[in-house]
Amino acid sequence: MAYFNLAAAFFVLVSMALMLGRLLLGPTLYDRILAVNSFGTKTVLFLCVFCFVIDRPDGVDIALLYALMNFIATIAVLKFFRYRALDVSLAKSHITQSDEER
């Protein structure tokens, strides 16, 4: 079973390399954002697999935290590129209110 986990970790590494290629070549901005997001997901998967390789399954908890952080970072990047600001609420009521202010 350890060899199975090692092979899985190796192929997560290969998929990381593929994401890296998309990130380097990616013609548009959204290719790159998606590549970074997917790269973070691959990191989470690698952590999940590797903590079973070294026989310490409590690494799965840390992988969950990685997943949360990756999601928040992607939302922050997208928000930054849409609004040029971070203190914008994503709720609909705030946006209509700020529309009226302008």
Binding site: R32, F46, F50, I54, G59, M69, F80, R102
Partner: protein, 217 residues
Amino acid sequence: MIFVSSAMVSTLILDVGFMAMLVVVAFAIVRLQSLFAIVMLQGVYSLLCAAWFVSLDAVDVAFTEAAVGAGVATILMLAAMLLADRESKPVPINRQFGPILVVILAGIALLFALPDMPTVGDGNSPANSYVGMDYIARTADEIKIPNIVTAVLASYRGYDTFGEVVVIFSAGLGVLLLLGLDGNAGKWKAKPNGIQLYAPSAPPARIKPDNDGGESS
């Protein structure tokens, strides 16, 4: 024992793969012109570092790297990029000889210092011989926390950690004051008595009312 050693070799293959990808990302950061791609690549560099640290069995360092490097630093670099240019101009080749000379000299000096490094897993290395053994022997009695790293950080070196937290907080505060993360530093209008009248937050030309991300609460 054969099984253990081959598993170690396979982990070494993973380490080498991570290091190769780090080198690729580093060269891409140096060579690319689009600053947005460079910021994204820095986030990927931090994620790769985190995965590599996990592979080196340093999960706590990996967690810090992922939180600070991939999370906060990416956003801060994006904010800095929005205040500055979007493209970087290439440095002419005749101005690159000095830096590479410095790098080569420093690399030679580090290689020269390499024989003094302890071998991996050496029981007599400095990390395994002096005060570290003292912590391992006394933490269970004195602090009664099962994690020795936590005991060292939060109890034995508590004032140290407190000072670090203060330094990091003030550094973050300074960065926020300099960057102005709301993206409109200098455009604030206020009454003389200090009440804020008008703080533009979102450019309304880009907003479609029926399409605002679906994250409404």
